[in-house]
């Protein structure tokens, strides 16, 4: 699911019903493709933050951003390039692993500094929070054992502190 030329739009929106539908509807109508979406309340109770990962090769970030701006409930948009931001994601997966393979899976998860969060007779549920690439790697390595269920959260991102002045990072916010 990792795309090399991706960009994250961190969109601050009003906490009102229907806002997510407005945003997803805009993407659907204009044929913009969303790679990943994560929504949660922000530090201010009035607003939520929506992290939208898009493929910059396929879509015009400028046009997406401008169209998003037109939504009345959108307060601020920050454009984050992977090189200028810290990105994290959470993965949970149930892996088929009987007593014979359990040790190998536990070892693998250990190497990635993940956790075993549930153990059954023939399966383990593992958890890993980290950089999306790492999650991809673990997912790939667990696949031969048999992943029976997989859930990823979608990406969250914040700008790198030491690169705040970078010209590639754009705060296109409406809020002044």
């Amino acid at each position: 699911m990792s795309v090399l030329n991706h960009q994250t739009l961190s969109v601050l929106v009003e906490n009102r019903s229907g806002v997510l539908a407005r945003i997803s509807g805009l993407f659907a109508r204009r044929g913009f493709n969303i790679i990943s979406l994560a929504v949660a309340p922000s530090d201010d109770a009035r607003f939520s933050r929506i992290n939208i990962v898009i493929d910059v090769e396929e879509t015009s970030v400028e046009q997406i951003t401008k169209q998003l701006f037109k939504l009345v409930n959108v307060v601020k948009i920050t454009e984050l390039l992977p090189s200028d931001s810290v990105e994290r994601e959470l993965l949970m997966a149930t892996v088929a692993a009987g007593p014979d393979q359990r040790g190998a899976v536990i070892e693998l998860v250990g190497v990635f500094e993940g956790k075993i969060v549930d153990v059954g007779a023939d399966a383990l549920t593992v958890m890993l929070a980290g950089e999306p690439d790492k999650l991809d790697d673990l997912e790939e390595l667990m696949r031969p054992y048999g992943i029976t269920e997989l859930q990823r959260t979608g990406r969250v991102a914040l700008p790198k502190l030491e690169r705040q002045a970078s010209p590639r990072l754009r705060l296109t916010g409406k809020a002044s």
Partner: protein
């Protein structure tokens, strides 16, 4: 991080000149129903007329209307209410208001909402909704109105808190009329209308802070203004490409000043007809698919396009890759998303057209203008070679629709407002009318809505009762919403309708003739079904049929003299007539097809 867009709030700026919002004196809190609060809020916004049709869920709101000074116009179909609100907004610049019930009434409003959205028409629609506890249960006449209308409104809200009604109404009018205007919908559950509320009329600051993400930028960037002035002064072959945004921002005077000061010719798009007077020596008329040869070609050959409040619609640009290939672009629009959407501008300016044009004119003071005599002579050469042209009428044949338009134009009382439907008649109306005044053209441009004409004309007449309103409709269009003439008759709104009845869905027929080897599939309507004269009379109108050329003038004169009821004239026109010039869809504007009697290649002939 750097801030790319810096925007400040301009809550008080509205495009139209509406009376100021009324102020409330300090009084103890008033208790009333949500419905009373809704109607009172409309009164506070100085709404003078509402177009609507009652029904179950909106019923509570219809009770306080009896005690309100607001005029309610009872339509026959909710689509009519929406288009009337649009027609009213087109001619007054003030938002039109439609009030209807839930479910099918709300879905009937979808077309006018989309129409208003595409053409940036300020409109406030209020729909009833089932009571809050019933929402989501598929209750009788429940539909997800905000869900359905989300992509065809500038904004919409389902009001769940009765005490928020006044704030929501103020927000709706503010959003509909500021920035890029558009339709706003409020969906109000029945029990919200019945609930007791404490009246509280929000202040400007409260409205502003309740919309933290809405701050339209009106003032152009000074650096860009300077650059625009420089490009304009240096251009040897400039053209002003004026769009509907000129009318929305009341910028007709500013546009005229810019054109005259720089001697720059002006094309007015379909949405901008009237924004620059057709009788002005610098006016080139309409560009685009059915624009005139000079307007199309001047844009193609220009070295600078000054695009003002226009969105590079495909009907104007033709094939984008070959559109005005040598032209640099200055693009002014209040909507940042329009800049660079179709063609990347050399100088993008986000802002209100009137303000920005004023700023550009000021910046031009320090520049001398390049010599444009050669450009002007080339343009007048095209004008001479390629005027609008149609074959003259032959005795015994059906009427020429273009000729009917010309007589209609010549006999129209001063200040007449023209509304049209969508199709061939719309293009002839735009081509052959002389628009010398802004806000005299009511038209469905972006969506191309057949059935727009009759209700929109009614709304226009309500907005400007002092003006004559002519509606030029096709027989196909007329059959879609003609029943609103019942509304016009019963409400005493004397509009005049000219049906250019060629018995066909004319524009489709034209395409089938030109691009489908004359295989006319499902376009014939029959000239006599229905009998338009009887139909119009049944709806309370005066009605005439004109088949002979010598009858055109006297019957139009007769219609102009009738002022106590609507008039319908059924003009029997020639179905073989086509709209020329034409740029076929997807073709380049270089390949404009002129009338068969005119020789192409005019540029070579002039040189």
């Amino acid at each position: 991080m750097r801030e790319v867009v810096s925007i400040s709030a301009h809550l008080h700026v509205q495009h139209a000149p509406p009376p100021a919002v009324r102020r409330e004196s300090q009084r103890p809190p008033m208790k009333m129903t949500g419905a009373q609060a809704l109607i009172k809020s409309l009164e506070m916004e100085n709404v003078e007329v509402v177009f609507g049709l009652p029904g179950g869920c909106i019923l509570p709101a219809y009770d306080p209307i009896l005690d309100s000074p607001i005029r309610h116009i009872l339509v026959r179909h909710e689509q009519g209410a929406g288009h009337m609100a649009e027609g009213y907004a087109h001619v007054t610049g003030r938002p039109g208001v439609a009030l209807v019930t839930s479910g099918p009434a709300a879905t009937n409003l979808v077309t006018p909402l989309c129409d208003a959205y595409m053409d940036s028409v300020p409109m406030v629609a209020i729909t009833g909704q089932v009571s809050r506890p019933v929402i989501g249960t598929d209750g009788f006449q429940e539909c997800d109105t905000v869900g359905i209308t989300r992509s065809v409104t500038k904004h919409n809200e389902l009001i769940m808190d009765p005490n928020e009604i006044p704030l929501m109404v103020r927000q709706a009018f503010h959003l509909a009329t500021t920035g890029r205007p558009g339709p706003v919908l409020l969906d109000v559950p029945k029990d919200v209308l019945q609930a007791e509320v404490t009246w509280n009329w929000p202040t400007d600051d409260e409205v502003s802070s309740s919309l933290p993400g809405y701050k339209p930028n009106l003032k152009g960037h000074p650096k860009m203004i300077k650059e625009a002035a420089r490009l304009i002064s240096e251009a040897r072959k400039p053209v002003i490409y004026a769009g509907g945004g000129i009318l929305k921002s009341r910028a007709a005077d500013a546009l005229r000043e810019l054109a005259e000061r720089t001697g720059t010719p002006v094309v007015t798009t379909l949405m901008a007809r009237g924004a620059f007077p057709d009788d002005h020596p610098l006016c080139l008329g309409m560009p685009g698919m059915h624009g005139n040869y000079t307007a199309i070609t001047a844009m193609q050959k220009s070295d600078l396009l000054i695009a003002l409040g226009t969105r590079f619609d495909d009907r104007v640009t033709g094939k984008v890759a070959t559109f005005a290939p040598e032209a640099k672009i200055i693009h002014v629009d209040i909507d940042p998303a329009e800049l660079g959407k179709i063609r990347r501008p050399d100088v993008p300016i986000v802002g209100d057209c009137r303000q920005v044009i004023g700023e550009i004119v000021k910046a031009l003071e320090s520049h001398t203008q390049a010599d444009r005599n050669e450009w002007r002579s080339r343009i007048s050469g095209w004008q001479e070679l390629y005027p609008l042209h149609y074959d003259p009428h032959v005795d015994g044949d059906a009427l020429k629709p273009q000729q009917v338009m010309e007589v209609l134009r010549d006999l129209a009382p001063e200040g007449t407002i023209l509304a049209s439907g969508v199709g061939q008649h719309q293009m002839w109306a735009s081509q052959y009318w002389q628009f010398n005044e802004p806000y005299t053209w009511v038209n469905s441009g972006g969506l191309g809505t057949m059935g727009f004409c009759v209700p929109a004309a009614i709304g226009a007449k309500v907005g400007r009762p002092d003006r004559t309103v002519w509606a030029v409709d096709g027989d196909g269009c007329f059959q879609m919403t003609a029943q609103e003439l019942v509304t016009a008759s019963s409400e005493r709104i004397p509009v005049k309708v000219a049906i250019l009845n060629n018995a066909y869905l004319g524009m489709v027929r034209q395409w089938q003739e030109m691009f489908y080897e004359e295989r006319y599939s499902e376009v014939y309507l029959s000239p006599d079904l229905p009998d338009y004269v009887k139909w119009a009379e049944a709806m309370g109108c005066a009605a005439f049929r004109v088949e002979a050329a010598e009858e055109v003038e006297p019957v139009i004169a007769k219609a102009n003299a009738i002022d106590d009821r609507p008039v319908v004239i059924d003009f029997r026109t020639d179905s073989r007539e086509k709209v020329f010039p034409m740029v076929p869809a997807g073709a380049s504007n270089d390949d404009v097809v002129v009338h068969p009697s005119q020789k192409p290649g005019g540029e070579k002939l002039v040189q």
